[in-house]
Protein backbone atom coordinates (compact mmCIF):
# COMPACT_ATOMS: atom_id res chain seq x y z
CA UNK A 1 0.00 0.00 0.00
CA UNK A 2 1.17 3.47 -0.86
CA UNK A 3 -0.32 6.90 -0.45
CA UNK A 4 -0.33 10.06 -2.53
CA UNK A 5 -1.95 13.41 -1.90
CA UNK A 6 -3.44 14.92 -5.03
CA UNK A 7 -5.16 18.18 -5.75
CA UNK A 8 -8.14 17.78 -8.11
CA UNK A 9 -9.40 20.80 -10.00
CA UNK A 10 -12.85 20.52 -11.53
CA UNK A 11 -13.53 23.21 -14.09
CA UNK A 12 -17.12 24.47 -14.16
CA UNK A 13 -18.16 22.23 -17.10
CA UNK A 14 -17.51 19.03 -15.15
CA UNK A 15 -17.96 20.33 -11.64
CA UNK A 16 -21.05 18.33 -10.80
CA UNK A 17 -20.17 15.08 -12.58
CA UNK A 18 -19.80 12.15 -10.23
CA UNK A 19 -16.33 10.74 -10.84
CA UNK A 20 -14.60 10.41 -7.52
CA UNK A 21 -16.74 7.53 -6.25
CA UNK A 22 -15.50 5.45 -9.19
CA UNK A 23 -11.99 5.51 -7.74
CA UNK A 24 -13.34 3.22 -5.07
CA UNK A 25 -15.80 1.29 -7.19
CA UNK A 26 -13.68 0.62 -10.30
CA UNK A 27 -10.16 0.82 -8.90
CA UNK A 28 -10.59 -0.26 -5.30
CA UNK A 29 -8.62 2.79 -4.13
CA UNK A 30 -9.12 4.14 -0.65
CA UNK A 31 -9.59 7.87 -0.67
CA UNK A 32 -9.76 10.40 2.07
CA UNK A 33 -10.95 13.95 1.45
CA UNK A 34 -8.52 16.30 3.17
CA UNK A 35 -10.02 19.54 2.04
CA UNK A 36 -12.59 20.70 -0.49
CA UNK A 37 -13.76 24.01 -1.78
CA UNK A 38 -16.32 24.79 -4.47
CA UNK A 39 -16.27 28.20 -6.10
CA UNK A 40 -19.75 28.32 -7.67
CA UNK A 41 -19.76 28.55 -11.49
CA UNK A 42 -15.95 28.64 -11.56
CA UNK A 43 -14.26 25.55 -10.23
CA UNK A 44 -14.03 23.07 -7.43
CA UNK A 45 -10.88 21.99 -5.66
CA UNK A 46 -10.53 18.83 -3.69
CA UNK A 47 -7.47 17.64 -1.87
CA UNK A 48 -7.54 13.89 -1.80
CA UNK A 49 -5.36 11.29 -0.21
CA UNK A 50 -5.27 8.20 -2.44
CA UNK A 51 -4.23 4.89 -0.95
CA UNK A 52 -3.47 1.70 -2.84
CA UNK A 53 -0.70 0.03 -4.82
CA UNK A 54 1.39 2.50 -6.84
CA UNK A 55 0.25 1.35 -10.28
CA UNK A 56 -3.43 1.42 -9.27
CA UNK A 57 -3.05 4.96 -7.97
CA UNK A 58 -1.56 5.92 -11.32
CA UNK A 59 -4.45 4.27 -13.16
CA UNK A 60 -6.91 6.15 -10.96
CA UNK A 61 -5.18 9.42 -11.72
CA UNK A 62 -5.25 8.63 -15.45
CA UNK A 63 -8.98 7.88 -15.21
CA UNK A 64 -9.60 11.27 -13.59
CA UNK A 65 -7.55 13.04 -16.24
CA UNK A 66 -9.50 11.24 -18.98
CA UNK A 67 -12.60 12.77 -17.43
CA UNK A 68 -11.09 16.27 -17.68
CA UNK A 69 -10.19 16.63 -14.06
CA UNK A 70 -6.91 18.53 -13.59
CA UNK A 71 -4.78 16.44 -11.27
CA UNK A 72 -1.79 17.94 -9.50
CA UNK A 73 0.48 15.93 -7.25
CA UNK A 74 0.71 17.84 -4.03
CA UNK A 75 4.37 16.95 -3.70
CA UNK A 76 5.01 18.94 -6.87
CA UNK A 77 2.92 21.92 -5.79
CA UNK A 78 4.06 22.41 -2.24
CA UNK A 79 7.65 22.62 -1.22
CA UNK A 80 10.10 24.16 1.15
CA UNK A 81 12.77 26.52 -0.11
CA UNK A 82 15.57 24.73 1.72
CA UNK A 83 18.00 27.65 1.65
CA UNK A 84 15.45 29.92 3.29
CA UNK A 85 14.62 27.61 6.17
CA UNK A 86 16.60 28.34 9.33
CA UNK A 87 15.05 25.43 11.24
CA UNK A 88 13.59 27.66 13.90
CA UNK A 89 10.50 25.53 14.35
CA UNK A 90 7.98 28.37 14.41
CA UNK A 91 5.80 26.42 11.96
CA UNK A 92 5.83 23.16 13.88
CA UNK A 93 3.30 24.01 16.59
CA UNK A 94 0.75 25.15 14.01
CA UNK A 95 0.97 22.32 11.49
CA UNK A 96 -2.23 20.28 11.95
CA UNK A 97 -0.84 17.03 10.52
CA UNK A 98 2.74 16.91 11.83
CA UNK A 99 4.03 17.29 8.25
CA UNK A 100 6.53 19.63 9.88
CA UNK A 101 8.36 18.16 12.84
CA UNK A 102 11.55 18.61 14.86
CA UNK A 103 14.15 15.86 14.89
CA UNK A 104 16.86 15.14 17.42
CA UNK A 105 19.79 15.29 17.91
CA UNK A 106 20.42 18.51 15.97
CA UNK A 107 16.80 19.66 16.14
CA UNK A 108 16.37 20.26 12.44
CA UNK A 109 12.83 20.68 11.14
CA UNK A 110 11.77 18.04 8.62
CA UNK A 111 9.02 18.60 6.04
CA UNK A 112 7.12 15.51 4.84
CA UNK A 113 4.98 16.50 1.92
CA UNK A 114 3.01 13.24 2.05
CA UNK A 115 1.44 14.39 5.31
CA UNK A 116 0.76 17.95 4.14
CA UNK A 117 -2.85 19.03 3.58
CA UNK A 118 -1.95 22.44 2.15
CA UNK A 119 -3.71 24.32 4.93
CA UNK A 120 -1.39 27.30 4.53
CA UNK A 121 -0.56 27.83 8.20
CA UNK A 122 3.18 27.38 7.78
CA UNK A 123 3.27 29.86 4.90
CA UNK A 124 1.58 32.41 7.10
CA UNK A 125 3.88 31.92 10.07
CA UNK A 126 7.30 31.34 8.48
CA UNK A 127 9.28 34.58 8.91
CA UNK A 128 11.60 33.71 6.03
CA UNK A 129 9.12 32.77 3.29
CA UNK A 130 10.48 29.23 3.17
CA UNK A 131 7.15 27.42 2.64
CA UNK A 132 6.04 27.81 -0.95
CA UNK A 133 2.64 27.65 -2.64
CA UNK A 134 0.88 26.28 0.34
CA UNK A 135 -2.34 28.18 -0.26
CA UNK A 136 -3.89 25.99 -2.93
CA UNK A 137 -7.32 26.95 -1.72
CA UNK A 138 -6.83 30.64 -2.10
CA UNK A 139 -9.79 31.71 -4.27
CA UNK A 140 -7.46 33.95 -6.25
CA UNK A 141 -4.99 31.15 -6.85
CA UNK A 142 -6.70 29.65 -9.89
CA UNK A 143 -4.72 31.81 -12.31
CA UNK A 144 -1.56 30.03 -11.21
CA UNK A 145 -2.76 26.58 -12.21
CA UNK A 146 -1.85 25.37 -15.69
CA UNK A 147 -4.76 23.55 -17.25
Amino acid sequence: MNSKNVLLIFKSNIMYKPVIYRLAKDFDLVFNILEAKILPRREGRILLELRGPDEIIDQGIKFLQDHHVVVELLSEKVWREEDNCVHCGACVGLCPTAALSVHEPDRKVAFEVTKCVACGMCGLVCPFGAMKDITLFDPFAEGRVNS
Partner: protein, 398 residues
Amino acid sequence: MPDFKVNKTFEEINEKIKKGTVVVVTAEQMIGVTREHGPIEAARKVDVVTTGTFGIMCSSGALLNFGHTNPRMKASKVYLNDVEAYAGIAAVDCYIGATQTREDDPQNKVFPGRFRYGGGHVIEDLVAGKPVTLKAYGYGTDCYPNREVEKTMTIHDFRDTLLLNPRNAYQNYNCAINNSKKTIYTYMGILRPDCMNANYSTSGQLSPLLNDPFYRTIGLGTRIFLGGGVGYVIGAGTQHTAHSKRSENGVVMGGSGTIAVQGDMKQMSARFLRGASITGYGCSLNVGLGIPVPVLNEEMAMFTAVSDEEIFAPIVDYGLEYPQDGGSVLGYVTYSQLRSGEIDFAGRKIATASLSSYSAAIEIANTLKDWISSGKFLLGKPVETLPSMDFKGFPNLS
Protein backbone atom coordinates in the same frame (compact mmCIF):
# COMPACT_ATOMS: atom_id res chain seq x y z
CA MET B 1 34.73 36.39 46.65
CA PRO B 2 34.91 32.85 47.96
CA ASP B 3 38.15 30.88 47.67
CA PHE B 4 38.18 28.71 44.60
CA LYS B 5 40.34 25.67 43.99
CA VAL B 6 40.76 26.57 40.35
CA ASN B 7 41.75 30.13 39.42
CA LYS B 8 42.42 31.05 35.82
CA THR B 9 42.69 34.44 34.15
CA PHE B 10 41.74 35.69 30.70
CA GLU B 11 45.43 36.24 30.02
CA GLU B 12 46.34 32.62 30.83
CA ILE B 13 43.56 31.30 28.63
CA ASN B 14 44.61 33.58 25.76
CA GLU B 15 48.18 32.26 26.08
CA LYS B 16 46.81 28.73 25.71
CA ILE B 17 44.79 29.82 22.65
CA LYS B 18 47.97 31.20 21.07
CA LYS B 19 49.90 28.03 21.89
CA GLY B 20 47.08 25.84 20.61
CA THR B 21 46.64 24.03 23.92
CA VAL B 22 43.29 25.54 24.87
CA VAL B 23 40.40 23.19 25.64
CA VAL B 24 37.07 24.42 24.30
CA VAL B 25 33.68 22.73 24.53
CA THR B 26 30.17 23.90 23.66
CA ALA B 27 27.68 24.69 26.41
CA GLU B 28 25.85 21.50 25.46
CA GLN B 29 29.01 19.38 25.87
CA MET B 30 29.91 21.12 29.14
CA ILE B 31 26.84 19.62 30.81
CA GLY B 32 28.26 16.11 30.33
CA VAL B 33 31.84 17.08 31.26
CA THR B 34 30.73 18.59 34.58
CA ARG B 35 28.38 15.71 35.37
CA GLU B 36 31.13 13.20 34.75
CA HIS B 37 34.10 14.91 36.42
CA GLY B 38 32.48 17.31 38.90
CA PRO B 39 32.84 21.11 38.72
CA ILE B 40 36.43 21.33 40.04
CA GLU B 41 37.85 18.81 37.60
CA ALA B 42 35.72 20.30 34.82
CA ALA B 43 37.15 23.75 35.57
CA ARG B 44 40.68 22.32 35.44
CA LYS B 45 40.04 20.55 32.15
CA VAL B 46 37.97 23.08 30.20
CA ASP B 47 39.11 26.65 29.48
CA VAL B 48 36.29 28.03 27.36
CA VAL B 49 32.63 27.16 26.87
CA THR B 50 31.00 28.41 23.68
CA THR B 51 27.34 29.40 23.39
CA GLY B 52 25.02 30.37 20.56
CA THR B 53 21.62 31.71 19.66
CA PHE B 54 19.87 32.51 16.40
CA GLY B 55 16.55 34.23 16.88
CA ILE B 56 14.50 37.24 15.95
CA MET B 57 16.14 40.19 17.67
CA CYS B 58 14.31 43.47 17.36
CA SER B 59 16.44 46.35 18.59
CA SER B 60 19.02 45.70 15.91
CA GLY B 61 20.17 47.94 13.12
CA ALA B 62 23.05 49.20 11.05
CA LEU B 63 24.97 52.46 11.19
CA LEU B 64 25.96 53.24 7.62
CA ASN B 65 28.13 55.96 6.12
CA PHE B 66 27.50 56.14 2.38
CA GLY B 67 30.42 58.43 1.62
CA HIS B 68 30.41 61.99 0.33
CA THR B 69 28.73 62.73 -2.96
CA ASN B 70 29.77 65.16 -5.66
CA PRO B 71 28.59 67.86 -5.13
CA ARG B 72 28.44 67.31 -1.39
CA MET B 73 25.18 66.77 0.41
CA LYS B 74 23.87 66.80 3.95
CA ALA B 75 21.16 64.18 3.86
CA SER B 76 18.16 64.72 6.08
CA LYS B 77 16.07 61.86 4.69
CA VAL B 78 17.59 58.57 3.53
CA TYR B 79 15.92 55.49 2.06
CA LEU B 80 17.49 52.13 1.24
CA ASN B 81 15.29 50.04 -1.06
CA ASP B 82 12.48 52.38 0.04
CA VAL B 83 13.01 51.63 3.73
CA GLU B 84 13.72 54.79 5.69
CA ALA B 85 16.99 55.10 7.59
CA TYR B 86 17.28 57.77 10.28
CA ALA B 87 19.50 60.53 8.90
CA GLY B 88 19.53 63.15 11.62
CA ILE B 89 23.07 62.19 12.61
CA ALA B 90 25.47 63.98 10.25
CA ALA B 91 25.91 64.62 6.53
CA VAL B 92 26.15 61.08 5.16
CA ASP B 93 25.61 58.85 8.21
CA CYS B 94 22.35 57.04 8.71
CA TYR B 95 20.94 54.32 10.94
CA ILE B 96 18.62 51.71 9.53
CA GLY B 97 16.56 49.89 12.13
CA ALA B 98 15.49 46.27 11.75
CA THR B 99 11.79 46.91 12.29
CA GLN B 100 11.37 49.82 9.86
CA THR B 101 8.87 48.86 7.14
CA ARG B 102 8.97 49.86 3.49
CA GLU B 103 7.37 53.21 2.72
CA ASP B 104 4.53 51.68 0.69
CA ASP B 105 3.99 48.66 2.95
CA PRO B 106 0.27 48.21 3.64
CA GLN B 107 1.27 47.27 7.20
CA ASN B 108 -1.77 45.97 9.06
CA LYS B 109 -4.38 47.68 6.88
CA VAL B 110 -5.28 44.26 5.55
CA PHE B 111 -4.94 42.22 8.69
CA PRO B 112 -2.75 40.32 9.30
CA GLY B 113 -0.10 42.17 7.29
CA ARG B 114 2.76 40.17 5.80
CA PHE B 115 5.58 42.75 6.12
CA ARG B 116 7.60 41.21 3.35
CA TYR B 117 10.45 43.70 3.30
CA GLY B 118 11.93 46.02 5.91
CA GLY B 119 15.10 47.20 7.60
CA GLY B 120 16.16 43.67 8.55
CA HIS B 121 15.91 42.61 4.90
CA VAL B 122 18.03 45.59 3.80
CA ILE B 123 20.72 44.49 6.26
CA GLU B 124 20.53 40.91 4.94
CA ASP B 125 20.74 42.11 1.32
CA LEU B 126 23.75 44.32 2.09
CA VAL B 127 25.60 41.51 3.85
CA ALA B 128 24.71 39.13 0.99
CA GLY B 129 26.48 41.56 -1.36
CA LYS B 130 23.27 42.44 -3.23
CA PRO B 131 22.86 45.92 -4.73
CA VAL B 132 20.51 48.27 -2.87
CA THR B 133 19.05 51.56 -4.03
CA LEU B 134 19.97 54.57 -1.94
CA LYS B 135 17.82 57.67 -2.12
CA ALA B 136 18.85 60.69 -0.09
CA TYR B 137 17.34 64.15 0.21
CA GLY B 138 18.85 67.29 1.72
CA TYR B 139 17.74 70.91 2.02
CA GLY B 140 21.00 72.32 0.67
CA THR B 141 23.54 74.48 2.47
CA ASP B 142 26.51 76.55 1.33
CA CYS B 143 28.88 73.72 2.18
CA TYR B 144 26.49 70.90 1.16
CA PRO B 145 24.56 72.16 -1.88
CA ASN B 146 23.26 68.83 -3.22
CA ARG B 147 19.58 68.21 -2.56
CA GLU B 148 18.93 64.81 -4.02
CA VAL B 149 20.94 61.69 -4.70
CA GLU B 150 19.87 58.32 -6.04
CA LYS B 151 22.30 55.49 -6.64
CA THR B 152 22.70 51.75 -6.54
CA MET B 153 25.27 50.54 -4.05
CA THR B 154 26.59 47.29 -2.66
CA ILE B 155 28.08 46.95 0.80
CA HIS B 156 31.55 47.64 -0.62
CA ASP B 157 30.49 51.06 -1.87
CA PHE B 158 29.63 52.14 1.65
CA ARG B 159 32.45 53.70 3.59
CA ASP B 160 31.42 52.20 6.92
CA THR B 161 28.88 49.50 7.73
CA LEU B 162 28.55 48.86 11.42
CA LEU B 163 25.96 46.48 12.80
CA LEU B 164 24.94 48.28 15.99
CA ASN B 165 22.30 46.54 18.04
CA PRO B 166 21.08 48.30 21.18
CA ARG B 167 19.48 45.19 22.71
CA ASN B 168 20.27 41.60 21.79
CA ALA B 169 20.45 38.17 23.33
CA TYR B 170 17.81 38.48 26.03
CA GLN B 171 19.01 36.23 28.83
CA ASN B 172 15.72 34.35 29.06
CA TYR B 173 12.24 35.00 27.73
CA ASN B 174 8.55 34.33 28.07
CA CYS B 175 6.68 31.29 26.89
CA ALA B 176 3.72 32.91 25.14
CA ILE B 177 0.16 31.59 25.11
CA ASN B 178 -3.18 33.08 24.13
CA ASN B 179 -6.01 32.95 26.62
CA SER B 180 -8.39 34.95 24.45
CA LYS B 181 -11.03 33.64 22.07
CA LYS B 182 -9.39 34.69 18.81
CA THR B 183 -6.15 33.93 16.97
CA ILE B 184 -3.53 36.61 17.59
CA TYR B 185 -0.49 37.60 15.53
CA THR B 186 2.36 38.68 17.78
CA TYR B 187 6.12 39.07 17.88
CA MET B 188 5.94 35.67 19.60
CA GLY B 189 4.38 34.18 16.48
CA ILE B 190 0.83 33.10 15.74
CA LEU B 191 -1.02 32.10 18.89
CA ARG B 192 -4.28 30.25 18.56
CA PRO B 193 -7.19 30.87 20.93
CA ASP B 194 -7.85 29.05 24.18
CA CYS B 195 -4.16 28.25 24.72
CA MET B 196 -3.98 25.88 21.78
CA ASN B 197 -0.26 26.47 21.24
CA ALA B 198 2.69 27.99 23.09
CA ASN B 199 5.79 29.66 21.64
CA TYR B 200 9.19 30.26 23.23
CA SER B 201 12.28 31.92 21.92
CA THR B 202 15.64 31.21 23.50
CA SER B 203 18.21 28.50 22.89
CA GLY B 204 18.05 27.49 26.58
CA GLN B 205 21.17 25.67 27.71
CA LEU B 206 23.09 27.07 24.71
CA SER B 207 21.94 30.65 25.24
CA PRO B 208 24.83 33.08 25.90
CA LEU B 209 23.68 34.93 29.04
CA LEU B 210 22.17 31.81 30.61
CA ASN B 211 25.70 30.39 30.79
CA ASP B 212 27.06 33.34 32.75
CA PRO B 213 23.98 34.30 34.72
CA PHE B 214 25.72 37.00 36.78
CA TYR B 215 27.71 38.41 33.84
CA ARG B 216 31.04 37.74 35.60
CA THR B 217 32.89 37.55 32.28
CA ILE B 218 30.69 39.58 29.94
CA GLY B 219 30.72 43.33 29.39
CA LEU B 220 32.24 46.15 27.35
CA GLY B 221 34.97 44.57 25.26
CA THR B 222 33.85 40.94 25.19
CA ARG B 223 34.67 39.56 21.74
CA ILE B 224 31.80 37.52 20.26
CA PHE B 225 30.46 35.71 17.21
CA LEU B 226 28.10 38.18 15.56
CA GLY B 227 26.22 37.59 12.33
CA GLY B 228 28.77 35.07 11.10
CA GLY B 229 31.73 37.35 11.84
CA VAL B 230 33.46 38.86 14.83
CA GLY B 231 31.76 41.51 16.97
CA TYR B 232 31.94 43.00 20.44
CA VAL B 233 29.72 43.54 23.42
CA ILE B 234 29.65 47.29 24.04
CA GLY B 235 27.77 47.25 27.31
CA ALA B 236 24.42 46.39 28.80
CA GLY B 237 21.56 46.46 26.31
CA THR B 238 18.48 48.61 26.79
CA GLN B 239 16.07 47.18 29.40
CA HIS B 240 18.94 45.25 31.03
CA THR B 241 18.36 44.31 34.65
CA ALA B 242 20.08 41.82 36.90
CA HIS B 243 17.33 41.96 39.48
CA SER B 244 14.80 39.43 38.35
CA LYS B 245 13.54 36.32 40.00
CA ARG B 246 16.25 33.63 40.01
CA SER B 247 16.19 29.95 40.82
CA GLU B 248 18.58 28.31 43.33
CA ASN B 249 21.30 27.96 40.69
CA GLY B 250 21.25 31.71 40.04
CA VAL B 251 19.54 31.34 36.66
CA VAL B 252 16.99 34.04 35.87
CA MET B 253 13.37 32.94 35.51
CA GLY B 254 12.45 35.57 32.91
CA GLY B 255 13.86 38.32 30.65
CA SER B 256 16.56 40.05 32.76
CA GLY B 257 20.01 40.65 31.21
CA THR B 258 20.62 42.01 27.69
CA ILE B 259 23.64 43.19 25.74
CA ALA B 260 24.38 45.92 23.21
CA VAL B 261 26.70 44.71 20.45
CA GLN B 262 28.51 45.96 17.39
CA GLY B 263 30.58 44.58 14.54
CA ASP B 264 31.74 45.36 11.02
CA MET B 265 29.12 44.05 8.59
CA LYS B 266 31.67 43.64 5.80
CA GLN B 267 32.95 40.44 7.41
CA MET B 268 29.51 39.01 8.28
CA SER B 269 27.37 36.46 6.48
CA ALA B 270 23.74 36.60 5.36
CA ARG B 271 23.30 33.10 6.76
CA PHE B 272 23.43 34.57 10.25
CA LEU B 273 21.71 37.88 9.56
CA ARG B 274 18.30 37.20 8.08
CA GLY B 275 15.49 39.65 7.53
CA ALA B 276 12.31 38.36 9.16
CA SER B 277 8.66 38.99 8.25
CA ILE B 278 6.40 38.37 11.20
CA THR B 279 2.80 38.11 10.06
CA GLY B 280 0.58 40.72 11.69
CA TYR B 281 3.48 42.18 13.64
CA GLY B 282 6.17 43.58 11.38
CA CYS B 283 9.71 43.27 10.12
CA SER B 284 12.74 42.32 12.13
CA LEU B 285 16.15 40.71 11.92
CA ASN B 286 17.29 37.24 12.89
CA VAL B 287 20.70 37.60 14.47
CA GLY B 288 23.21 34.82 15.04
CA LEU B 289 25.21 35.51 18.18
CA GLY B 290 27.57 33.47 20.30
CA ILE B 291 29.65 34.34 23.36
CA PRO B 292 32.69 32.41 24.57
CA VAL B 293 32.55 32.04 28.35
CA PRO B 294 35.90 31.46 30.06
CA VAL B 295 35.83 28.85 32.82
CA LEU B 296 37.83 30.89 35.33
CA ASN B 297 36.93 28.72 38.32
CA GLU B 298 34.63 25.94 39.49
CA GLU B 299 31.72 28.31 39.95
CA MET B 300 31.93 29.25 36.27
CA ALA B 301 32.04 25.52 35.52
CA MET B 302 28.77 25.12 37.41
CA PHE B 303 27.21 28.09 35.61
CA THR B 304 28.20 26.88 32.15
CA ALA B 305 27.00 23.35 32.92
CA VAL B 306 23.40 24.53 33.28
CA SER B 307 20.99 22.28 31.40
CA ASP B 308 17.49 22.70 29.99
CA GLU B 309 15.94 20.89 32.98
CA GLU B 310 17.20 23.65 35.28
CA ILE B 311 16.14 26.67 33.24
CA PHE B 312 12.61 27.98 33.68
CA ALA B 313 10.56 30.17 31.35
CA PRO B 314 7.53 32.07 32.62
CA ILE B 315 4.20 31.41 30.89
CA VAL B 316 2.58 34.69 29.90
CA ASP B 317 -0.78 35.32 28.25
CA TYR B 318 -0.44 37.51 25.14
CA GLY B 319 -4.17 37.40 24.40
CA LEU B 320 -5.65 39.40 27.21
CA GLU B 321 -2.95 40.38 29.69
CA TYR B 322 0.29 41.37 27.96
CA PRO B 323 -1.22 43.97 25.61
CA GLN B 324 -2.65 45.84 28.59
CA ASP B 325 0.81 46.09 30.18
CA GLY B 326 -0.02 43.14 32.36
CA GLY B 327 1.88 39.97 31.86
CA SER B 328 1.63 38.23 35.18
CA VAL B 329 3.31 34.86 35.31
CA LEU B 330 0.77 32.06 34.98
CA GLY B 331 3.30 29.37 35.75
CA TYR B 332 6.81 28.16 34.94
CA VAL B 333 8.00 25.48 32.54
CA THR B 334 11.50 24.15 31.99
CA TYR B 335 13.20 24.28 28.62
CA SER B 336 13.33 20.51 28.50
CA GLN B 337 9.54 20.47 28.76
CA LEU B 338 9.28 23.15 26.09
CA ARG B 339 11.61 21.25 23.79
CA SER B 340 9.65 18.02 24.18
CA GLY B 341 7.00 19.61 21.93
CA GLU B 342 4.27 19.69 24.56
CA ILE B 343 3.71 21.26 27.96
CA ASP B 344 1.13 20.63 30.62
CA PHE B 345 -0.76 23.77 31.43
CA ALA B 346 -4.04 24.25 33.25
CA GLY B 347 -4.66 20.52 33.13
CA ARG B 348 -4.13 20.04 29.41
CA LYS B 349 -1.41 19.43 26.86
CA ILE B 350 -0.34 22.36 24.71
CA ALA B 351 1.84 22.08 21.58
CA THR B 352 5.03 24.14 21.81
CA ALA B 353 7.23 25.66 19.12
CA SER B 354 10.49 27.54 19.24
CA LEU B 355 11.01 30.79 17.38
CA SER B 356 14.77 30.64 17.73
CA SER B 357 16.70 27.99 15.84
CA TYR B 358 18.39 25.50 18.12
CA SER B 359 20.16 23.79 15.23
CA ALA B 360 21.69 27.13 14.17
CA ALA B 361 22.65 27.77 17.81
CA ILE B 362 24.60 24.49 17.82
CA GLU B 363 26.30 25.52 14.59
CA ILE B 364 27.28 28.90 16.05
CA ALA B 365 28.68 27.36 19.24
CA ASN B 366 30.67 24.86 17.14
CA THR B 367 32.00 27.56 14.82
CA LEU B 368 33.14 29.66 17.75
CA LYS B 369 34.76 26.58 19.24
CA ASP B 370 36.70 25.99 16.00
CA TRP B 371 37.79 29.63 15.81
CA ILE B 372 39.17 29.51 19.35
CA SER B 373 40.77 26.06 19.08
CA SER B 374 42.53 27.07 15.87
CA GLY B 375 43.99 30.18 17.50
CA LYS B 376 42.03 32.62 15.27
CA PHE B 377 39.95 34.14 18.03
CA LEU B 378 41.20 35.46 21.37
CA LEU B 379 38.98 36.21 24.33
CA GLY B 380 38.24 39.88 24.97
CA LYS B 381 38.51 40.73 28.65
CA PRO B 382 35.76 43.21 29.46
CA VAL B 383 36.83 46.65 30.65
CA GLU B 384 33.60 46.75 32.60
CA THR B 385 31.18 43.88 33.16
CA LEU B 386 27.41 44.27 32.95
CA PRO B 387 25.58 45.50 36.06
CA SER B 388 24.97 42.44 38.24
CA MET B 389 23.99 41.34 41.73
CA ASP B 390 25.36 39.06 44.46
CA PHE B 391 25.10 35.31 44.37
CA LYS B 392 25.26 33.30 47.56
CA GLY B 393 27.18 30.50 45.85
CA PHE B 394 26.52 26.84 45.16
CA PRO B 395 26.14 24.81 48.37
CA ASN B 396 28.23 21.89 47.03
CA LEU B 397 31.18 24.17 46.28
CA SER B 398 31.63 25.71 49.74
